[in-house]
């Protein structure tokens, strides 16, 4: 079955330290990978995506993600965390299927950045 896993329910990091939010996927075919962020009582906002090409993708708010095909991972990273980065982060993969396409979301990882 096709799936996306975010193995950590919560990540805690001190402000100024680097952060990593992990994502692994299991799909058939070439994946299109996305990261979204959700602030309290808001909808999701797009951060970045991997389509093809360079394995390191840069996105909004200083975030980047590294695509690793052999490990089927797409971890979200930021060199220096801010308190304002505290939010819920979702990894998603879009794959083609009969009838068009399907987006599979991970369960989400809550990031806490402490001042």
């Amino acid at each position: 079955a096709q799936s996306v896993a975010q193995p950590e329910d919560q990540v805690n990091v001190a402000e100024g330290n680097p952060l990593t939010v992990k994502c692994t996927y299991s799909v058939s075919g070439n994946p299109y990978l996305f990261w979204y962020v959700q602030y309290p009582n808001r909808g999701l906002q797009f951060l970045l995506k991997y389509i093809t090409g360079d394995n390191l993708v840069k996105g909004s708010y200083g975030f980047e993600a590294e695509f690793n095909k052999s490990q089927t991972s797409f971890h979200l990273k930021k060199p220096s965390a801010l308190v304002s980065d505290s939010a819920l982060y979702f990894c998603a993969v879009r794959v083609s299927n009969t009838g068009g396409f399907k987006t599979i979301f991970g369960a989400g990882t809550r990031l806490f950045v402490k001042a």
Binding site: Y32, G106, G108
Partner: protein
């Protein structure tokens, strides 16, 4: 600035009521989606539409229906609300193509009592 607008932020409805959740996008997107979000389960697709008057079932369509009479508007209908439909409902839209990101509304938190 692109926008997906959901008609209500918070709704409280009684069991058995018919509930309408409205979503409007101003980006001329072909695709529109309805998800529900529950803690620990991520987002689950209820229905999506890739064109006017077209709809496809998602992963959890039971108890829901949708309507897309105009390109910019996608409505989610709970035919007879039940307490297990208490959730956060998110509408989204996107252009055609596997590589296109989705734009989300602010969400509607529905409580069925």
């Amino acid at each position: 600035d692109v926008k997906v607008t959901q008609s209500s932020r918070y709704l409280v409805k009684r069991t058995g009521e018919k509930v309408f959740l409205e979503c409007v996008q101003d980006m001329d997107h072909e695709n529109m989606f309805w998800y529900r979000q529950d803690p620990g389960l991520g987002l689950r697709l209820i229905y999506f539409s890739y064109d006017v008057k077209m709809k496809e079932k998602g992963d959890i369509p039971e108890g829901y229906s949708v309507s897309r009479e105009k390109k910019e508007r996608f409505s989610l209908i709970l035919e007879s609300a039940s307490t297990n439909q208490t959730s956060m409902y998110l509408c989204a839209s996107s252009l055609q193509g596997l590589w296109t990101e989705a734009f989300f509304g602010q969400g509607t938190r529905l409580t069925v009592v």
